[in-house]
């Protein structure tokens, strides 16, 4: 692999940028791998990368039905933060945050991670009490956090409507300065390139259509490109997790919903941070290209259609207008939907299953992007060692039976 640097940039400029190597190979599947990851999104590619890097597994493949990063990885609003309430979640997301902080160097790929800060607004007294509690809990877990009052907020974000006369007045916010955004496509491409460099086969247009198992052990996967043998299969397929689980005869406590996002036409720099509101239900940031990146809640009904309904678009825009009346005449450029796998406690499932050698990493719901490196890191450990890392032990499938749920609806409610 050619290392990307200022020198390689200069060298390739000499040859009119016509001699760049392709970033990853396009191999045909081998007959057998030591491990297979199903799903070539950010989480799947990160899993393969950390399996190769941290656990020395080189004979592994990532199978992707479409193209890498074409699902939710390319369909989210790119927000990264780690200010979750409960210890288990805070530690998992904070692990991810720490990986984000060194990710561009680690991958030798600029993922454009920008720690521009994330504000979570409070609109009621109870919101503010919850924010106090969450910031305190964050600090105890070593996650940075700050409570900001409305006057200070108005100074920091001049265009935010903090008027006491608004329908849902802004009373303050929590602020995580280390939060921010990253370039979602670059995350997929960076992990793909780095994993490929370590020998991982990334096989696109390869759909898994069944699992082969014997005596309760996984033997391999049936795919659109034929049968591939492997003693370990990790499934990281977000909205399609229930479909894959059904193929293996398993049930998951998940429901798949469309989640929409929007970008506006590019405008001059106006918003240098990320603003989210649970109460009016919307979030917004501005990309480096200048477009406003906007999202809100899921469409209420189950769906696999990768598009949503107009009522949700209207709700989202209403929320953004409430927060930023100045954007009333900005036109939206594009709208799309991804399919998110929502879990009853708004926390992921990173777990072994009843079938030996079959692992699931799913249930990230509306907020998986921020966790991409951390999710891959703990899932790689789980698959490589057939045992969860202490960071994801609490996120096992059996918590729905034992009742040890990790209720993050407060921190995850609108959060991406």
């Amino acid at each position: 692999m050619n290392k990307y640097s200022i020198f390689s940039l200069a060298r390739n400029a000499m040859s009119h940028h016509e001699k760049w190597q392709r970033a990853w190979r396009s191999p045909s599947p081998k007959k057998r791998y030591d491990a297979i990851i199903v799903g070539g999104g950010g989480h799947g590619l990160a899993t393969a990368y950390y399996m190769a890097k941290e656990h020395g597994m080189r004979n592994i493949a990532v199978l992707e039905k479409g193209w890498i990063g074409g699902g939710n990885t390319g369909r989210n609003t790119t927000i990264v933060r780690s200010n979750y309430l409960w210890d288990e979640a805070a530690q998992l997301y904070e692990k991810s945050m720490k990986l984000w902080e060194g990710l561009s160097q680690d991958l030798n790929y600029n993922v454009m991670f920008s720690q521009r800060g994330v504000y979570n607004l409070g609109h009621t007294l109870q919101d503010m009490r919850d924010i106090q509690r969450r910031v305190n809990a964050n600090r105890l877990n070593g996650v940075d956090g700050e409570v900001v009052d409305a006057a200070e907020l108005q100074k920091r974000i001049p265009h935010l409507n903090c008027s006491p006369d608004s329908r849902y007045p802004v009373l303050g916010a929590s602020f995580q300065a280390r939060g921010g955004t990253a370039r979602h496509d670059a995350v997929a491409w960076g992990f793909a390139r780095a994993a490929d460099n370590l020998g991982v086969d990334i096989i696109q247009n390869c759909e898994v259509i069944g699992f082969r198992r014997e005596n309760g052990e996984i033997q391999g996967v049936e795919t659109s490109q034929g049968y591939i043998e492997s003693p370990k299969v990790g499934v990281v397929t977000a909205g399609s997790s229930s479909v894959l689980a059904n193929m293996a005869g398993l049930r998951l406590p998940l429901e798949s919903h469309p989640l929409q996002a929007f970008v506006s036409e590019p405008i001059k720099p106006i918003l240098d941070t990320v603003v989210m509101s649970n109460a009016v239900h919307g979030y917004i940031s501005q990309s480096d290209k200048g477009d406003l990146v906007i999202g809100a809640g899921i469409d209420s009904y189950n769906g696999y259609g990768q598009r949503g309904s107009f009522t949700t678009i209207e709700h989202t825009m209403t929320a953004i207008m409430e927060l930023f009346p100045i954007f009333s005449r900005v036109r939206m450029n594009r709208q799309w939907g991804g399919i998110v796998d929502t879990c009853p406690d708004a926390c992921p499932i990173i777990s072994k299953t009843d079938i030996k050698g079959l692992y699931f990493n799913c249930g990230w719901g509306t907020g998986g992007f921020k966790a991409t490196p951390g999710s891959g890191w703990v899932f790689a450990h789980t698959v490589a060692n057939d045992n969860p890392h202490e960071l994801n032990a609490a996120f096992a499938l059996d918590r729905f039976i034992s009742g040890a749920l990790i209720d993050e609806h407060g921190a995850a409610g609108v959060a991406h």
Binding site: S240, P253, E255, S256, Y301, N302, G303, T311, P344, F400
Partner: protein, 107 residues
Amino acid sequence: MLLIECPYCGVRDESEFTYSGEAHIVRPLEPSALSDKEWADYLFYRSNPKGLHREMWYHSAGCRRYFNAVRDTVTYKFKCVYKIGDSQPNLDELSSSAKHPADVEAK
């Protein structure tokens, strides 16, 4: 925007309705007699199919009554609606009949 046929009021806009999740999930008569696994199954586990889905809708800004529907979760198209207590429609028949009389077009 979906047009949804309420069995009591007729065809109305999606915005008048609230989705209420998978249909025909019956609360166990004797919860204390269940194992943790069975209780978890009742509380948390759903079929979440890619295709036809029996689900409950609530006409919240209309007659305020619940009813059931079969909807395709890929096309979002309603195959049929039926009242609570009516017998469950056969999904195989619905998927084979492309033009069911109760079809409501997704617009």
